[in-house]
């Protein structure tokens, strides 16, 4: 299966060996990135991982100790924020409270060569683009959170930057609004063709919106891939755990006649390929990971397509469209989560009932035991 991918243009932003310390705190460690023209790129990580620092470094708000930040092949060292071809949507939106919506959007146009009428037109067009047509005369402080965010977007996009930087732009919105804005942002980005760099701690948001995602922990980029690869082939247990839900079971791996055999607790022995080990084949002690949707509970009369393992249902969590089951395999203490769609005719199973679990060896991801 492939997902539609935008052709990635030549690198617009290049970061090489960027390092930054705040006193003793190592905020950015050896950051190397190439972000292409027109790409929707996300920096994903838990709070304090350095993703916002990295974004602010690109914007010109933070200095860095060493390394290079290049935009359009130009070294950005010493170039202040107001001279960079980037614009930012701040987490707090930073809407000027003493100005109207239109004045906010036109703020950055002061130095442009356009006539006053053209500037107003450009600002109004930008407002229309973000769905705020006719809001220009409103006072900035009379806007809702979602509207403020749109104003911040319009204010940045009206300047036609090469790169739009978004610092957790959706985190202050409620769930419905957030999901709606995610779709709108993707559409908007396709429309304007500008490179977007999004900072988020929400893995779902990153998966939904991005062409590529860089996962950061403790100031370091630990994996940079497109969403599908990141989800299916996480390079470490930590990344696997951060992106979606991943079940882990202890295992041992051995080589036998050029083949790799994994002996997984509760599931038994199976052959694995090098492809399933994103960080290399860990011979000996290992951990096997699999996503909840790769397992299926078998109902009466059904047979497993590949392999089957007996288990007991420990917990049932009903979500309407989905049901999550926590099941225990024989001889394993830690329960494993299985997600099932509640399609028509499929009953929700009871807690404590014995179950048969269907699983596919190909869906397993194998990590070293320590990682």
């Amino acid at each position: 299966m492939t997902i539609k991918k935008k052709p990635s243009g030549p690198a617009l932003i290049t970061l090489q060996k960027v390092e930054k310390h705040y006193g003793d705190y190592h905020a950015l460690r050896d950051i190397n990135l190439e972000i292409g023209q027109g790409e929707f790129f996300s920096l994903l990580g838990p709070s304090g991982c350095g993703k916002t620092t990295l974004l602010r470094t690109i914007a010109g708000f933070e200095d860095y100790d060493s390394g290079y930040v290049m935009i359009s092949s130009k070294d950005m060292r010493g170039v202040p924020a107001n001279k960079r071809p980037t614009n930012m949507v701040f987490q707090s939106y930073a809407i000027f409270p003493h100005l109207t919506v239109l004045q906010n959007v036109a703020f950055g146009l002061r130095k442009s060569a356009m006539s006053k009428a053209e500037k107003t037109k450009a600002a109004e067009d930008a407002l229309e683009m973000v769905g705020l047509k006719g809001y220009g005369h409103r006072a900035a402080h009379a806007l809702s959170g979602g509207q403020r965010q749109r104003v911040a977007l319009a204010r940045a996009l009206v300047l036609k930057p090469k790169v739009l930087l978004l610092d957790e732009p959706l985190s202050a919105l409620d769930r419905k609004m957030r999901e709606q804005m995610q779709v709108e942002l993707i559409k908007l980005q396709r429309e304007v063709g500008i490179t977007f760099i999004l900072v988020t701690h929400d893995q779902e948001e990153a998966l939904v919106m991005s062409d590529r995602i860089a996962v950061m922990f403790e100031g370091e980029i630990v994996q940079c891939d497109d969403p599908e690869v990141l989800y299916r082939k996480p390079k470490s247990k930590r990344v696997a755990d951060f992106i979606g839900v991943m079940n882990f079971l202890p295992a041992t791996v051995r080589e036998e006649g050029g083949k790799y055999i994994a002996s997984v607790a509760g599931l038994g022995e199976t052959e694995i390929t090098g492809e399933q080990c994103p960080a290399g084949v860990p011979l000996g002690e290992a951990t096997v990971g699999f996503r909840p949707e790769t397992l299926t509970l078998l109902y009466e009369g059904q047979t497993a397509t590949h392999r089957e393992a007996p288990a007991t249902i420990e917990e049932v969590v009903y979500y309407g469209d989905m049901t999550y089951y926590d099941v225990k395999f024989e001889g394993v203490d830690k329960p494993v989560r299985i997600s099932m769609r509640n399609i028509f005719g499929r009953d929700v199973l009871d807690v404590g009932a014995p179950a048969r679990v269907s699983w596919s060896p190909g869906a397993l991801v194998v990590f070293g035991a320590g990682e």
Binding site: F96, H98, R110
Partner: protein, 301 residues
Amino acid sequence: MTFGDKMRRFFRSEQGVGMMLVSPTALYALLLLAVPLVAIFVISFWTQTGVRDFDTTFTLANYKEALTDPLYRQLMLRSLMVSGLVTLITVVLAFPIAYFVSFGVKPEHKSLWIFLITIPFWTSYLIRVFLWKVILGYNGVLNSGLLAVGAIDEPLSFILYNVNAVIITLAHAYAPFAILPIFVALEKIDRSLLEASRDLGESRTMTFLRVTLPLAAPGVVAAVLIVFIPTIGDYVTPRLVGGPGGLMIANMIQTQFLRLNNAPLGATLAVLAMLIVAVIAIVFMLLGNKAAGGNTGGRRK
């Protein structure tokens, strides 16, 4: 329900508790502010006939005299000029200090700086005015210092017992009053607004002019009012360092009440001074509101 029940209920209600909380201050303000104000207003329409005797027939003669006599007009204009200049000097000098404390000082040291700024208030106002006499006097600190380094050949005489001395002394005395409201207004400015301005292509200077200054406007207006209103009626400073040429309207009001036994005219001058201050204050407040684009510093979500 008996009256007692009603009373008990009232004093337990939120409204009742509120009333009880404000009543001491309200009573105080009523007795010591509203009553004297009304008295002054009423007396200004009377005529004094003896030391303690008044003709209470309504008359506008005092107002006619106050508005036509060039002496009173000159004193009023001088008072306006002095407090206007004091306000201008104080606020212009206070802004950089407030800006420095708000933007240049580490957050954990800010309260220390504010504390240091209030140190001049540890001595009484009167003593501070006297100290300026010592500094500005003919044989004062300033003159002897300048003589010692050879900057001047004879002591400067234009710095004490005139309007200049009044302005210098008042500007110093009111500096903390101007610094604090400006500081508070600057503190309220969301720092990401300044970053947003830089991000949108503006230099530091333009960011200051387009964002910081308009958002600090409510604080500046407050500072202007806090300095302007009390200085226009200041009595002690002109009396001590102003000399005959530095007297202000408050000195004349005192003279009318206590020396010339003409309380009604003194009251009239007081009422007129209050009216002028009120008009100027309102104009300033409206201007400040306009500069801040109707935003008075409160942030709504």
